[in-house]
């Protein structure tokens, strides 16, 4: 045996209760689950720990990162063994050389991937989807189930016209042929977008497609039994319901699975998300396969006083200062004794909010000591209150002090928890690898266990594991993953059920071209095995194993 995991609490991904057992792995496959008498070349003692299938993250934008980091860090240390990139109509292939800068612009606009990262981190040695797959396979630690983007198909076939008009019949046929080629090369499905803007703030190419074009492409998906992913107008409930109906019609017509993401809980309109879910159930009971994706993490709001934030729109004096002010006049208002008194008086009844604000970034060395602390903590250290600390830090930093107000949206634990548990909901929409300069998109799996299993008891640990392993694999038709079962690929996550969590968010410089991003470390994830080899341990970090595979859909 190559590897034996002993005495773990096995949660096999099926949703059945955990049990004590061993797992034997040989040649990258699970060969036995239960009592293993044979000795492994490597033995892992998992006593007191959960042994589960590796987690699957179905909504990511790691496309570019995979070109310089085949582990899609820090996904693996959060227990994720398979990622789905290429969402929202954007993939990095197929891509003609002439369109590279156009696509870089779109990735920059939509996913905040810096231009310099592409300049310094990418060798453009592919055009076709197959060549791209060959390129990323060279150094792959994590498994990748890549979507092909509708905008990219249009760009290939129609060139710049893809950003202006619907396709002709001939162009639609060319897109169908190209999609087929991509699916044959390993794409798990097609993604499209009804909301995204390109770098010129014009709609991305997929938004110029009419319903007939999308239908024609879905016919190809049907022939290959592959999935359609869409990002819809998630900010409007009635449109969401209409998109659910559209996807249901497509799903029934072509007998394919569809997924839309993200679906959020609006704290002022629970009825909206209830209506959307009720429609999904109704349509699925009528034979459709429509899977809304719901993310586990709440939404945070970040701001500085150098840009007016709507966080202050109900505070007349504050908003007037920010809305009509220049940096100089805002600084002057903060410095003026009378004006400051007025500002503090107006906002002091919201002291709870100011106390919870976290200082995210500063530029002066002197204030680095406070980064990561909340304003209540900093106020105590400085002998003042949170509101005055916010003003003082902003003055000291020439308004370049960055604050974060955590848990401001999608944060009703009962409501979000009941959605995450819902049998017609897929847990996903992490956006891993995107928005890198705004917030961290990593650690949603840890947050699922810490918040919705341990603290809020929204679901059992077995249900949570099933949701992000076998359910996801089944929905996406990913073969032989998602269960701890003899014959299945040995993607395994070993974690401490009492400790698994996401760590605090921090800013790090690890993007090519001296770029930065927000990340989170994991807590409680001890070992991650991909393709039968240890890819990560909590103590030793990432290993040199490269067993990641391209995981295409089941035909």
């Amino acid at each position: 045996m190559d590897l034996v995991i002993r005495n773990g609490n096995i949660i096999d991904g099926s949703g059945l209760p955990s049990y004590l057992g061993d797992i034997a792995i040989n040649d990258g496959r699970i060969v036995k689950v239960g009592n293993v008498a044979d000795t492994g070349t490597t033995e892992i003692d998992a006593q007191g720990k959960v042994v589960s299938p590796g987690f699957i993250d179905p909504h990511t934008h790691f496309d570019a990162q995979l070109l310089w980091d085949g582990a899609a860090k820090p996904a693996i240390e959060h227990g994720v063994t398979t990622i789905v990139p290429g969402n929202c109509s954007l993939s990095l292939a197929p891509l003609k050389a002439d369109h590279r800068m156009k696509l870089v612009g779109m990735f920059n606009q939509i996913e905040e991937m810096p231009f310099k990262a592409f300049e310094e981190g990418v060798v453009w040695d592919w055009e076709s989807f197959e060549e791209f797959i060959t390129r990323i396979k060279k150094d792959l630690t994590i498994n990748v189930a890549p979507l092909v983007g509708h905008s990219v198909l249009r760009l290939w076939v129609m060139g710049n016209e893809s950003m202006h008009r619907t396709a002709t019949e001939q162009e639609t046929q060319a897109m169908q042929a190209l999609l087929k080629e991509c699916l044959d090369a390993g794409a798990i499905g097609l993604s499209t977008s009804f909301v995204d803007m390109d770098e010129t703030l014009q709609p991305v190419p997929s938004r110029y497609a009419d319903a007939a074009e999308l239908d024609a492409l879905c016919a190809v998906l049907g022939q290959h039994n592959r999935i359609l992913q869409v990002v819809h107008e998630f900010y409007d409930n009635d449109i969401t319901v209409a998109r659910i109906d559209q996807l249901a019609d497509i799903s029934r017509k072509h007998k394919i699975t569809t997924t839309l993401s993200p679906l959020f809980v609006n704290n002022d309109n629970f009825a909206g998300v209830d209506q959307a879910i009720a429609r999904v159930v109704e349509q699925n009971e009528a034979g459709a396969r429509v899977w809304p994706q719901v993310q586990t993490r709440p939404i945070d709001i970040s701001f500085t006083f150098s840009v007016p934030s709507l966080l202050f729109i109900r505070l007349r004096t504050w908003y007037a200062v920010m809305r009509f002010g220049t940096p100089e006049t805002i600084m002057a208002a903060f410095s003026d004794e009378e004006q400051r008194k007025q500002l503090v008086a107006e906002a002091s009844n919201m002291m709870g909010l100011w106390q919870r604000l976290i200082l995210r970034q500063v530029k002066t060395e002197a204030n680095q000591q406070y980064v990561g602390k909340n304003l209540a903590e900093i106020a105590e250290l400085r002998g003042t209150d949170a509101l005055n600390v916010m003003i003082d830090l902003s003055l000291e930093e020439d308004l370049d002090a960055h604050f974060l107000s955590a848990d401001m949206g999608h944060n009703n634990d009962d409501k979000v928890g009941s959605l995450l548990r819902h049998p017609h909901v897929m847990i996903g929409a992490s956006d891993g690898g995107a928005h890198i300069l705004s917030f961290s998109t990593y650690g949603d799996t840890g947050y699922l266990f810490s918040r919705f299993v341990r603290e809020n008891h929204s679901m059992s640990i077995e249900e949570a594991v099933k949701k992000i392993t076998s359910d996801t694999a089944d929905i996406w038709a990913i073969p032989q993953r998602g269960l701890l079962k003899s014959g299945y690929v040995a993607d395994v996550t070993i974690f401490d059920a009492d400790l698994i969590d996401r760590g605090p968010e921090y800013y790090v410089q690890d993007v090519p071209g001296d770029g930065h991003r927000y990340v989170r470390d994991s807590a409680g994830v001890e070992t991650v095995i991909i393709g039968g080899a240890v890819a990560y341990t909590q103590q030793g970090g990432y290993t040199d194993e490269r067993r990641g595979e391209i995981v295409g859909g089941r035909a």
């Binding site: 014009q202 009419d210 319903a211 409007d236 429609r279």
Partner: protein, 73 residues
């Protein structure tokens, strides 16, 4: 199926005028357009197409969903 708000997929050439004439024929064109626009404010939440675009002046995209009645009560 439960009743949901009525919507259409516009054709590539559709404008407020053509949709109002087709879908809201019992109203005057002016009233139909005003109603359509008030029910579809999301269409305005995007930059206008540049002057050289074949869509210049028309904010409706072929992939849109457009409501042809107000929100249900």
């Amino acid at each position: 199926m439960n009743t949901v708000r009525k919507s259409i997929f516009p054709s590539a050439q559709d404008t407020w005028e053509s949709i109002a004439a087709r879908e809201l024929s019992s109203s005057s064109t002016e009233e139909g357009i005003a109603n359509l626009q008030s029910w579809n404010l999301h269409v305005f939440a995007r930059p206008p197409a540049p002057a050289e675009s074949p869509r210049a002046g028309n904010p409706i995209l072929p992939s849109d969903i457009l409501f042809i009645e107000p929100p249900l009560v």
